[in-house]
Subunit: 213 residues, 2 copies
């Protein structure tokens, strides 16, 4: 096992997709698959698949193909899905509430340990077994608890103070729904979900099609 090999982020970003397809195959009791069949299914080239998977040692066997369960378990191990990280969610509006429920239903290596908002109407509300806490108490909470990740679903005007706290309290990753580019040092990873940008792009592309027609 090549545990210490550095895997590029581009490959990492493709792994959840392999994970989904392999899980699906296993649920259909398909236990082995050739790289060409997997290629047709996932709509990527067989050579890309072989190259991606060779990053983790060669799991495929000539004439046999891939063992689905073994490959799935290897990807789970690499993605470290079973290793829970502590997460808090800041901003319990529509998106924040949906994300809270979503994460609790997923159970993919995330453990919610706190919910925060600044809105007096929301503070104290119960959600998925938590009470929404006043964001004013966040500095104390961060001091007392190990928080690995923050999901940010707040308007961009409130972002500066929160990013300062994130840096100060050694948070490792941010799931950023704020439609604002975060100014964070490189040792803090960010995944952006920018619904506003997405909608504009989708609208543009749809208009392009309509105008072409």
């Amino acid at each position: 096992m090549k545990n210490n090999k550095v895997i590029s982020l581009a490959v990492i970003r493709r792994l959840p997709r392999y994970y989904r397809y392999l899980k699906d195959l296993l649920e259909k009791d398909i236990n082995r698959i050739s790289s060409s069949d997997l290629s047709a299914l996932m709509n990527i080239t067989a050579s890309q698949i072989r190259q991606d998977l060779s990053n983790f040692g060669s799991f495929g066997q000539q004439g046999y193909g891939y063992n689905v369960e073994y490959l799935l378990n290897e990807i789970k191990r690499i993605l470290n899905i079973d290793n829970s990280n502590n997460l808090i969610i800041i901003g319990i509006g529509n998106i924040g509430s949906a994300i809270t429920k979503y994460i609790n239903n997923q159970k993919n290596g995330m453990k919610i340990i706190g919910l925060f908002d600044k809105n007096k109407d929301v503070i104290g509300k119960g959600l998925e077994g938590f009470f929404v806490q006043d964001v004013e108490t966040l500095p104390l909470f961060l001091k007392k608890n190990k928080v690995d990740m923050v999901a940010l679903t707040i308007p961009s005007k409130n972002i500066k103070e929160i990013t300062r706290l994130i840096v100060e309290h050694d948070v490792k990753g941010v799931w950023n729904f704020s439609s604002h580019d975060l100014d964070l040092p490189p040792n803090i990873v960010v995944e952006n979900v920018n619904l506003s940008d997405d909608l504009m792009i989708l609208n543009f592309r749809v208009n392009q099609i309509i105008n072409k027609v």
Copy 2:
């Protein structure tokens, strides 16, 4: 104005970001900005900015920089933000409900005209001025109404029937939250928001940082 020039999708994907920054500048009463200042602000090279914006004719003037309002209006025009497309949302669970409220608050060229679900507990519920309709009535609705876009927030096992309807009824674009790769012809555009993949990737990257420390 170069209306007929084909602009690459890579450039299009960057435009909402320009839009956000320029809107922000205008709200702060900043009316002109040099490409180098904009570059520092947005953390991309000045030459990238000049190249991106030259796609729409050259708006910058040597020694003057960009006129923020003019540039913002041009980007709005190109993105066609004021041109509403009709949208329906299929799947009014946590994410679907949040998206419904989100779109109604955004007013970025989308007009919700219907909400659908298959869950008897959800059908008939009022949300943002709509009653959630039974997904069984969707074929008739699609026949009677011009639906340009569909936001899909349903589990992947229900996806096949819905994608068939999308193709049949000439829907132009899909905002896909289903964590499932859609099998659609190339004349239908898709923007994927895969929260499950995102979380796995964020978790992996955070674990990488923790293990390095």
